[in-house]
Symmetry: C2
């Protein structure tokens, strides 16, 4: 227990130069939890960024298999955390133990998946164009390309996944896999959890003999802005609100040396319920959808926040059932008091909008979040009304009824960028509405058929990203192995001798990886 | 000749709503060339962006082989341009005919290489994770990922490659290959060239039945800012000055929906001459290096603008020879009058810096650029003096002599981001200075050994990019097939039926492309 000091993690040491006055709270009772956390000073933020910069060169030049061993060790340390840890996370977040157990397994599994990517070696993007000394009119030199980590990465975790999108979450895993040391800004909503996870990472770093500054963590509020502005930081990963994410993007873009920010921010995750599906299984859809809306108190980036359908008797019946379901679901405790404030504010804005009607849900009051159903006029979507597409974090869903196919198209065109878009459809719907998929591709990073978006599988094919404002850069994903690409940059060697090339590019292909050689993918050695 | 109207290219039509008052000039005589060009109005800029947006959906959903046929057709049209075309380019740029012939071949070759990439299909980045219905505790859905074009791209060409980095240049080729329609801002330095190339693209688009707005071109000054701010534009490719590139980055970052800008801007391309190489072949290096500095009047992004070596008698002898060479090279005509102004200003700033000495070159005067050699104190590099690393476009090179290995390391650490870094070295040097390569990787996109950076091969392994200020995003390259990645974003399909999936992700693998299936790369069908 003596490790639980509340101090910052800088260069493998604990540091508390500033005031140790930050407190964490029991999410259910609102009572402060034991212990204080030390807000990092400007000097400590500098030291953390500098420690990451110092670790960068030795860390990135380690064999990928060494980094893989580090990630595996983190996974083992996470899995070995005890019941006291689970209880701590539960107290800080009001999430149930089974969920935290599952999320821990997801988090360690994610580390192990990136370890696999490092051993597989496709992240190197190795390409070799051999010399053509006799080519006319000009000879071609030997050219070889691979990818290296972009440099130290600042990571901002989310409140809603205290493990999987936080201290040792997806952004940290992707950055560490890419060869980038991390400075993590501890989330104020779960500082005790963050400390325990950071300690697990540090134990893994020590066991696998990583450079001291490979992982650093700082507590505080202003520290985030300082961190993003620090010249040693070369990229940012963020999961949170549109306001917070955009502020970091603006800071990063205004630096003397601008850096990329991958912010996952705001999505209402539209679900389109198509006519034949409503005829065949309207009640079932209402039950499944409402369960997805209230799951985890609606505190998922991929919570279905909008349902769109074409007016019909079946759609009306479905809406009535959905309203009953929403009314029947109990109130739930949110992650923290700030979340409840934001939820209440969001509901108030919906309530006050003249073209949005309240359809179901107990009046919002007290310390828990009551599930809510609203209905908005289709014109709001067509005309790009901001409020309608403003993510409200919590168990609320907005229905939009359109009058026909033509209005459906226009409504979808009015959608802002989304993490997901879902079709609930029968085969006959898919035939009748075949034009929807190409349109939805422009609006979202992941398209689902007859599922609900709240499960985000960690795998090679997943995309957890999408056009603005879902993320700040539609070319990234913050879940799945493709997310490593955000933190990599290409390097080319021209006429380098074999012994000076990285292993990924050596003639003999000692790593045994797939490489594009003279335009053909192969695992063979080159001569 | 009747096609040469000087009008803008919008949605497959010519348009001239504004004043047709822009003129192009003979780069050698300064005389205006016949004809006027119509500066696009704000409405025309909107129309061009909108035309690209309208073309986006039909264009991106074409089979990749259709886009490949379009690129091949552009290449054929470029190759078919007549002697009058070559003469026009020469008059507008003062570049010799042989160079323009070579650059045309490079430009059409680049189009054909991207056509090959489209047929090869690796740009899809296809990944399939098959359903695991029996997995515990949760089943896994079927997940499939591929990449699509990000949307309409605004392209700003460079003055120094009127073909290869301009209207039908690398950024245009990469964007069109990715499935992104283009709005090209014609470079004011070669508007007649731009018109002829745009007509070639339009002929190819018509022959291969592309959507009308797949390629648009506008003339003018302010039009660039309007274009980057237009909501339909989803990414920007730029080659030019740091000032111009940064201004576009700032505009793009301040949009309601920020968009990525890939700007290739400023690089001094350091060349390190190591001791043993100087002993063995100092004279040869001086001759080769000076030839590279003055080649094309030093108007290359990869011109070696800085030479770094360790003080020694051999280094001094090398410098003396380099000075002789620079003195012996004749003055040359630059691409345009603005270029000569900038060159003269750049030399004046070097001249006036108290810690930079002029070492060789005729006094700069008259209508041509005289090659110049300067020597700067090593402290300037170590202390990050801005001027020393400010690219001066034209035949000038700055030498930095360091006193020992330790000062060499510190000087290199002071380097800003570069497109290239070059080692001139013997095997003994490489052994003695093995620590240089990992350091230079952090500073540049391409590392060369015993070559000169001015040739940029168009191939799979090339990287023409690097950390800021060489480019605005070190993760991109603006030459070579990897440059297509800048304009692609990933999409994931969850539980989609085979017939609704894009061909790249269908079970049978009808395109026969390599795909990552359950973590293994294969061209096999999946079941």
């Amino acid at each position: 227990m003596s490790d639980y000091t509340g101090h910052n993690f800088i260069d493998g040491q604990r540091s508390a130069a500033g005031h140790g006055s930050l407190q964490s709270f029991d999410a259910t009772t609102g009572e402060p939890l034991p212990g204080f956390y030390s807000e990092a000073t400007r000097e400590e933020v500098d030291a953390a960024a500098q420690a990451a910069a110092t670790a960068y060169q030795p860390y990135r030049t380690l064999p990928a298999t060494r980094r893989a061993a580090f990630l595996d060790a983190i996974a083992d340390e996470l899995d070995a955390l005890d019941e006291e840890f689970i209880a701590t996370v539960c107290r800080e977040t009001a999430l149930p133990a089974a969920r935290i157990q599952g999320e821990r397994a997801r988090t360690s599994g994610q580390m192990r998946l990136f370890a696999k990517v490092l051993r597989r070696g496709d992240f190197f993007g190795a390409r070799i164009d051999r010399a053509l000394p006799d080519r006319q009119p000009l000879s071609r030199p030997d050219l070889r390309q691979y990818h290296i980590g972009i440099g130290p990465v600042a990571v901002f975790g989310a409140s809603n996944f205290p493990l999987a999108f936080s201290t040792a979450g997806g952004d940290t895993a992707a950055a560490l896999a890419a060869g980038c040391p991390v400075v993590f800004k501890a989330h104020p909503g779960h500082m005790a959890t963050a400390e325990r996870v950071a300690l697990a990472i540090i134990r893994a770093a020590e066991k696998t003999e990583m450079p001291a500054g490979v992982f650093n963590m700082i507590y505080g509020g202003m520290v985030g802005a300082w961190l993003v502005q620090h010249p040693a930081i070369k990229a940012v990963g963020f999961t949170g609100s549109l306001k917070g994410g955009r502020a970091l993007c603006d800071l990063a873009a205004a630096r003397p040396e601008p850096i990329p920010v991958f912010a996952e921010m705001s999505s209402v995750n539209p679900v389109l319920v198509l006519p034949e599906a409503l005829k065949v299984r309207g009640s079932k859809i209402a039950a499944e959808l409402s369960a997805s809306v209230v799951q985890g108190a609606g505190q998922f980036c991929t919570k279905p926040g909008m349902v769109i359908g074409i007016r019909s008797p079946e759609f009306q019946a479905f809406l009535d059932e959905l309203a009953q379901q929403i009314n029947a679901h109990p109130a739930q405790t949110l992650l923290n008091a700030g979340g409840l404030c934001n939820y209440t504010d969001g509901l108030t804005r919906l309530h006050e909008h003249p073209q949005i009607q309240h359809r179901a849900g107990q009046p919002q009051a007290g310390g828990q979040a009551h599930p809510q159903l609203y209905e908005a006029a289709a014109e709001l979507l067509i005309n790009g009304d901001e409020l309608l597409q403003h993510e409200v974090f919590g168990p609320v869903v907005v229905v939009v009824a359109v009058k026909d196919r033509e209005e459906l198209q226009r409504a979808l065109q009015g959608l802002q960028g989304q993490l997901t878009a879902t079709l609930i459809a029968e085969p006959a719907d898919l035939e009748a509405f075949a034009d929807l998929t190409p349109l939805l591709e422009l609006k979202a990073g992941r398209l689902l058929l007859n599922g609900y978006p709240t499960g985000v599988e960690v795998c090679d094919a997943m995309v957890h990203g999408g056009p603005y404002p879902a993320t700040s850069d539609a070319r990234g994903s913050s879940v799945g192995t493709v997310s490593i690409n955000r933190f990599l940059r290409p390097i080319c060697f021209q006429n380098y001798p074999d012994n000076l090339l990285p292993d990924a590019l050596k003639n003999a292909n000692p790593l045994g990886i797939a490489r594009l050689v003279d335009g053909v993918s192969t695992t063979e050695a080159v001569s």
